[in-house]
């Protein structure tokens, strides 16, 4: 916190200079040498007049990890809006975080440092070893931002007013045509998120997270302090029963890595499901294959917000591709699957 404050001041003073330098700062990836650590990123921000898009994102990660804040946001998908409250704080060197869904059945996630516990009305509570709550804020923003440069261009676009505050817009644009773009509006004062939008290649707004309230405090919230004494479920052991599946995905957009492969039974699905999960640093894609005796069926697409569900049936298998990727990409993935 001590070294962070002068940085805030600097950010404030240097804001008028941003607009002239914006053209030069894009694409940020090409011109700026990525700093190795967060501390270096901040010293870099002090020497360079206008922070690059990458520095904005590093500052976002840093702010989300170090500030005490109490904020609310609304996730808008199609015609539905889900309101959440999000608290974060540092207490006795421990990072405390709480995200809770405010409408409908209870859905809460609590994080104490590297343990995240999820409480959902339709499941028994469970904990996972993770240093970020995975949803609905993209987990990538909490972690290794530089890694995303392999697949996304970071572009500092300009400023606007969000939540009554001056905001810097940073766009994550896919280097190929296989992904959606992420637009982030960051608070110039604190570096925190004010708005996130998922934009299709055609410029269509698919999904957005709009913050409705932001309060940054000196001390962490009283509610968070109580979490330290709460009894939380034991973290699930990371036993990854990796299996070799009798089929493979032969095409994926560049940058996607296999996260896990498994065979399991899913509630409400009669047959055993075989699944692979991939991640490009920002987006998760799951491929599900299950045996079916139904007639072959052409691909159908269901879309909720940015999440696409593409389903097709061929060779006696029903193939479903799920993820925040364009339907065309999902279809190419589904078509590339070959069975042994």
């Amino acid at each position: 916190m001590n070294f962070f404050k002068p940085f805030l001041l600097l950010a404030l003073f240097s804001t008028p200079a941003f607009s002239q330098d914006e053209a030069e700062s894009e694409p940020a990836v090409a011109t700026q040498q990525p700093p190795q650590t967060k501390e270096q990123a901040i010293t870099a921000a002090e020497t360079v007049k206008a922070p690059t898009a990458l520095q904005w994102l590093q500052r976002l990660t840093h702010s989300m990890r170090t500030l005490n804040f109490d904020t609310s946001f609304v996730v808008v998908r199609n015609n539905r809006a889900e309101p959440y409250r999000w608290l974060h704080g540092i207490s006795d060197e421990q990072e405390l975080e709480l995200i809770t869904l405010l409408n409908g059945p209870r859905k809460e996630a609590i994080r104490l440092d590297d343990t995240v516990s999820y409480f959902e009305s339709d499941k028994s509570p469970y904990s996972v070893h993770s240093n970020s709550i995975r949803a609905p804020i993209p987990a990538a923003l909490f972690g290794d931002i530089e890694k995303l440069q392999a697949t996304y261009n970071f572009i500092g676009v300009g400023k606007s007013r969000i939540l009554g505050r001056p905001a810097q817009l940073v766009r994550l644009e896919s280097k190929d045509k296989q992904r959606f773009g992420y637009w982030l509006w960051l608070d110039i004062e604190s570096g925190l998120l004010l708005k996130v939008a998922v934009i299709s290649r055609a410029g269509e707004l698919l999904e957005q997270i709009q913050f409705t309230h932001l309060m940054i405090t000196e001390k962490s919230n009283e509610l968070l302090q109580q979490l330290t004494t709460a009894v939380l479920p034991e973290p699930l052991s990371g036993n990854k029963a990796e299996v070799k599946l009798p089929w493979q995905v032969n095409w994926l957009p560049a940058g996607f890595e296999l996260i896990k492969s498994s065979k399991r039974n899913i509630q409400k699905v009669d047959t055993e499901v075989e699944t692979l999960m991939f991640n490009d640093g920002l987006v998760d894609v799951s491929v599900y294959v299950l045996a079916s005796d139904e007639a072959p069926r052409k691909a159908t697409v269901n879309q909720t917000g940015a999440t696409v569900l593409l389903s097709t049936l061929r060779d006696g298998y029903e193939i479903t591709v799920v993820g925040k990727i364009p339907a065309k990409t999902a279809n190419t993935i589904a078509e590339s699957i070959s069975f042994n």
Binding site: R77, N78, R80, P105, A109, D114, V116, S121, K123, V128, H129, S130, N131, S132, R134, A135, A139, G143, L236, G238, K240, E242, K244, L245, Q248, V249, N250, W251, L252, E257, L258, I259, K260, S261, I266, Q267, K268, V269, D270, V273, T275, L276, M277, N279, D284, S286, Y288, E294, T300, V301, N302, Q303, T304, G305, T307, L309, S311, T320, V322, G323
Partner: protein
């Protein structure tokens, strides 16, 4: 009402000097007030600008309405019995709220079963009730709570089951995202990569 009072009003209209007491009388006496209005109306008509005279009836109506309003005195600061009773109800209702959610879920389930039964008669297509295609998104999970039937021969039934499966896979996908631990993320090397031959 004496004639000279009407004359006095006339004089008032013509900007002649009158006593203050007359003004007060006109103000307080309805009849004199009417006369005042009438004289003005006559004057307006004669001058030819009667079209935009102000309807003073409205002002009268408002005055009557205000007079009819009950006078509100300073509110009582001491809580009444009903307020105290309410405060107790709030305390009680907190734990009850959780049961209320369960009850509403049960209600939805019962509704769902009824829909499924109707569909067997072929009268109503249940798919239209929660049809999520093409862009409406996947319907709420609660819509899918009714019992699964093994009747795959019926294409409508097959369609419903397919949508149910999609919903289940979507929630599984979302669950798997949460289950990812960072440890697994970093140690990708240990996982056999089926793409290694073809992709890179």
């Amino acid at each position: 009402m004496s004639e000279n009072k009407f004359e006095a009003i006339s004089a008032l209209l013509d900007d002649n000097n009158v006593e203050q007491s007359l003004l007060n009388e006109v103000k307080d006496d309805d009849k004199l007030g009417d006369t005042w209005n009438r004289y003005h109306l006559i004057g307006d008509i004669m001058r030819g600008d009667s079209a935009d005279f102000i309807n003073t009836e409205l002002a009268n109506d408002i005055a009557v309405a205000i007079a009819a309003e009950p006078t509100v005195l300073a509110p009582v600061s001491r809580p009444t019995f009903t307020q105290r009773a309410k405060a107790k109800v709030i305390q009680l209702s907190k734990p009850v709220g959780q049961f209320a959610i369960a009850a509403s879920a049960a209600g939805l389930m019962v509704l769902g079963v009824q829909q499924a039964n109707v569909s067997d008669e072929g009268q109503i297509v249940p798919a239209q009730v929660w049809q999520p295609l093409p862009m409406g998104g996947v319907a709420d999970p609660v819509s899918y709570n009714y019992s699964t039937q093994k009747n795959v021969a019926n294409p409508k039934q097959a369609y419903i089951e397919h949508q149910q499966r999609l919903q289940a896979l979507l929630s599984d996908h979302n669950m798997q995202i949460k289950l990812q631990s960072d440890v697994a993320h970093e140690s990708d090397d240990g996982i056999p990569d089926p793409l290694s031959e073809n992709h890179e």
